[in-house]
Symmetry: C3
Subunit: 451 residues, 3 copies
């Protein structure tokens, strides 16, 4: 592994081509249009075109799609010299993950007569699973090669589908916006991976692990898109009608309350009482994570705002006090602070969901109970039992995520060349790191590695 770039020339194309060819073969063998996308099937029955699920979900799908590719992609461009890697590797692993997720999710809970049926709902679910992988990417940002990222994605998507299957299909857990399945899972999986890949000499790349003025503005593009479209994210696969409507509304208020909490906490904890861009870029989003489970329930705007408010506070405190401890004591180098944005708020969201579920009554939900808690509506379990199932699901998710993160093992770029686009990308000349310097560093590293 004398030269990082030379090995890329061989390995990356091989990995990309082999993965894509496998995907194509499996799609050829297993994937079919579902009832609503198939010309013959759809026209076989009589109904109106506006009943096609496309019109209920496609606008939400596109909002989710923007969150995955622009939201996550640009949120991570805050690093001064890792903008190409942030948005570019995000693009690569997302494009891979959504294909692989279609297969894995289809395999575990979408088979119909030996075939995986696809349509707008499977597209949303694949994007959701991809979101989880991108959360983990945030934890290891700047310290991994694209090949490692693709490997990680392959494992993580698989385990995501397993966890999702256990929760949604076996246990009947409700988690429409994925506080558990997406955020908690992605965060703790990523934290475990970054722990295993601990780099004792990462401080050698410390000067690059920070932002410049314009990179912070690029990151704000990601933040704002995530913030705006989170109501679509949480409501994208809830039941039609009041459910989608209510989930969007709850998320909207949770995020608004979270934002005020974030600004207040940022000023109170920061140096000199100034606002810290890291908090604004991340903690203001915690409100969306924290109503991912309970958003479809009758949480009320009041309840949503309380949850969002708490999520903002917890998240800023995490950035200020917990992250340094995680790094120094537990050797967890969490580049984007996903523990503060997705980890803790995800756990909070799971708990809120469990409590809200346990308190559900027919008096509040009426016939709408069938949409939100079908098992409670048909009398097979009672509400408090549903709450217990929700709580159990959190534990299972944490277990699978942490164990799953342990599985992934591999080789990585030297500590001196982290957070640096020049390793994997052609960088415009004027801004490229001094070639000589780069070479020197490489040589040193090579010596170390080969010694």
């Amino acid at each position: 592994m004398a030269d990082v770039s030379t090995s890329m020339r061989l390995k990356l194309p091989v990995v990309c081509f082999i993965l894509e060819i496998i995907l194509i073969i499996l799609f050829g063998a297993l994937v079919q249009y579902d009832y609503e996308t198939d010309a013959k099937e759809w026209h076989n029955q009589s109904h109106n075109d506006y009943e096609n699920d496309f019109y209920f979900r496609y606008p939400s799908f596109q909002d989710v799609h923007v969150m995955i590719f622009i939201g996550f992609g640009f949120l991570m461009t805050f690093l001064q010299k890792y903008g190409f890697g942030s948005v570019g590797f995000n693009f690569l692993i997302a494009a891979f993950s959504l294909q692989w997720a279609t297969l894995m999710q289809g395999f575990f809970h979408g088979m119909h007569g030996g075939k995986i049926h696809v349509g707008v709902e499977s597209m949303i679910n694949a994007d959701f699973c991809t979101g989880s992988v991108l959360i983990s990417f945030g934890a290891v940002l700047g310290k991994t090669s694209p090949i490692q990222l693709l490997t990680m994605a392959m494992f993580e998507v698989t385990l995501f589908a397993v966890n999702e299957f256990i929760l949604l299909s076996l246990l009947g857990t409700r988690d429409a916006g994925g506080s558990m399945t997406i955020h908690t899972f992605g965060a703790y999986f990523g934290l475990m991976v970054t722990r295993i890949l601990y780099r004792p000499h990462l401080d050698k790349s410390k000067h690059r692990n920070s932002s410049v003025y314009h990179s912070d503005l690029f990151a704000m593009i990601g933040t704002i898109y995530l913030w705006m479209f989170w109501p679509s994210f949480n409501s994208a696969i809830t039941a039609h009608g009041d459910d989608q409507h209510r989930t969007a509304l709850n998320t909207y208020y949770s995020l608004a309350a979270c934002t005020l909490a974030t600004y207040g906490m940022s000023a109170v904890t920061s140096h000199d009482g100034k606002l810290d861009m890291v908090h604004i870029q991340n903690a203001a989003l915690a409100g969306g994570v924290a109503v991912g489970t309970a958003g479809e329930m009758m949480l009320t705007p009041f309840g949503s705002m309380i949850v969002g408010f708490l999520a903002g506070i917890i998240s800023v405190l995490g950035f200020k006090f917990l992250s340094p401890i995680l790094e120094s004591k537990l050797k967890i180098q969490d580049t984007c602070g996903v523990h503060n944005l997705h980890g803790m708020p995800g756990v909070l969201g799971a708990i809120v969901g469990a409590v809200t579920a346990a308190l559900a009554t027919m008096d509040v939900y009426g016939k709408g109970m069938e949409d939100v808690f079908p098992a409670v509506a048909d009398g097979s379990i009672d509400a408090s039992k549903q709450g217990g199932v929700q709580a159990l699901s959190l534990a299972i998710t944490l277990g699978i995520a942490l164990l799953g993160g342990l599985i992934v093992v591999f080789g990585t770029p030297p500590d001196t060349l982290c957070f640096e686009d020049g390793v994997y990308w052609e960088v415009p000349e004027s801004e490229a790191p001094h070639e000589a310097q780069l070479t020197t560093v490489r040589t040193e590293e090579t010596e170390k590695l080969s010694s």
Copy 2:
């Protein structure tokens, strides 16, 4: 007020927390899901899911949401050293305003049995009201603290709701896209505030009150999003069916015509015949403002294009000739030129609306008259009277906006530190203003203030 930042550490958190806690308590006491978001209510009656208002309005809502947070936020990033403040304070006051607006608008015209009902329409209305506050923010950009901005937002939202109540509920004025209620109101309110806060020594910050190459590109993100989604803005709360469709179409053509007028006028008025980014970023949007009232009417594409064309011309002329006079003679320092983008085009839009209303006939509108002019359709007034009501509404809006702007009073950052992120934000080191210099300036200011 010796040190701006120290006072932020105390005041901003206190203000944020108190405001949010008050909001949460009021939401708990007053706010309820409406018929279409409530699980029990919606399921109590028989209807198809696609009849839920969510599917008629949510895509438009998301477009409006993008205009508020990305559109306004990035439009103002043109300042070279105030990008964090532009997008960051925009974020803060918008998140506050939309919550406060839900309460105020609900209080004035959304109470049902002592409760404020919320759903996608209230979300759009709250975003609309927020837009008005952000217009005013444009007038004072770079010269106010976040606490002042929150105070301004609190007053402005309240008065916005009062004005809206008088127009829409008492008088039966039509103003779906808010030429009067949003743009005229926001602009003249903001101009009055910036007049009261007149800074005689603002030329000390003159070198920062300008753009750099990349800040102009960031601002174009805001411009283009506002331009693209304006058809959704104007049509978001018009009646279902032909009304939403027609409004979007009219706005689309008005904006296209406005853009050509803007480029032509920019070249003719600018130094050396070159195009001026300030014009492109702002005047090209005036066409959307100017069909805010008449867009839902049978204005025809032809009429819409004439209105857009005029709006573009007026707006560029305003930037070139009127803004300097307003500053030098009337002491109105309008940072973003909101008078040219929202003020004059808003007044034009109100006049166009009044004339178009006065000319409405059953021959043109048919049974569609019920949607656009219900009072004319049921015979309680005739079209010319509706035109009169529209004109009166403009006068009322101007009066309330200007008087309202007078109410807001407070203390502000020193003239030497305007348009500077370093006052309120942690700025990445390499780009921070020289610490010594900042300190010196502060000390001087402190001396002045305490003397």
Copy 3:
């Protein structure tokens, strides 16, 4: 033409105003609301509001709109000193083209009783035609004045409408996403224009014909938006129901497969095995172009992925090996490489469409055949004949595009001042090219021109 800017002061306003006034007059004489946007017409019949085409197509329209103004606009900002021109001229010619296209397309295939009917479908079609013009703009980027661009747009829109009329109306060709009508047409038209405008001394502007770090990030905004919303582009005007749904799905998978192929090919062909931003920004989109014709057909996800995979490979190979040859041997200076992104993938898309059409059977399409191949469904031609028509359409498109590009002739900025915003835009002082230097260059050029 002694001074470029002086002539702009006169010519650009005159051109903009005359064009817009002509447009307004023609709209006044010819354009009418269609059935679904007209208050009287829509209310004359009984139907539900959700049957209005607005709800089937407006969200797709807005996605297409974003692709046209943000997608194309920002994709071209990769040039270090031509960001204003990229996004600003894109804005100008798009705003003109969509109005002119409404007239031309209406004239050729939208007349009803002597009037052109407009609604959401005409808006989408106008945006599509605009897209074609912007593709041609990509070929000549940085080397043409705004007046030339408007002239080119005027001719190109007209010929686009002629070609579209021949294909869709006369021959019954299927091309919902425009592999032929939009991409192939726009690319070869633009390549012919740039060939005629060949600049032997363009290497004098060579140092500006490249990117800087942040300009590449701005370009990624354009890329990602194009990528995300391409499913909406291809499905925007297909039949309601399964057709829109299926087209979006096929495009989604084609793009994902294309992205992996692009990353692999970029690493294998680039210097040192590093990824090249030019490939990522462009080739990853070829998958959307290549399913523009067959996307609405029963191509299956499997077929879509194969097409996308091939498109990505072809596109990167084009950038690496074909573009340099086109420039050195054929004197085609293709600034954005539109031949690789739109030309070859467009031709591939046409071929895939012809083959897929030829293979269509009732067994696969059932009653859905009426939506996709109405002429095959009603028995007037058989599937293999439809395939032949598709192939013929490609030849016609290539012919009209290449001949059309020959027509456009004009005068242009000097070779030394290409790719430079300072010629047409007020550039913030600190970054403006040294005034003296600019003057010197101008003087030299003037001498040459006048000699």
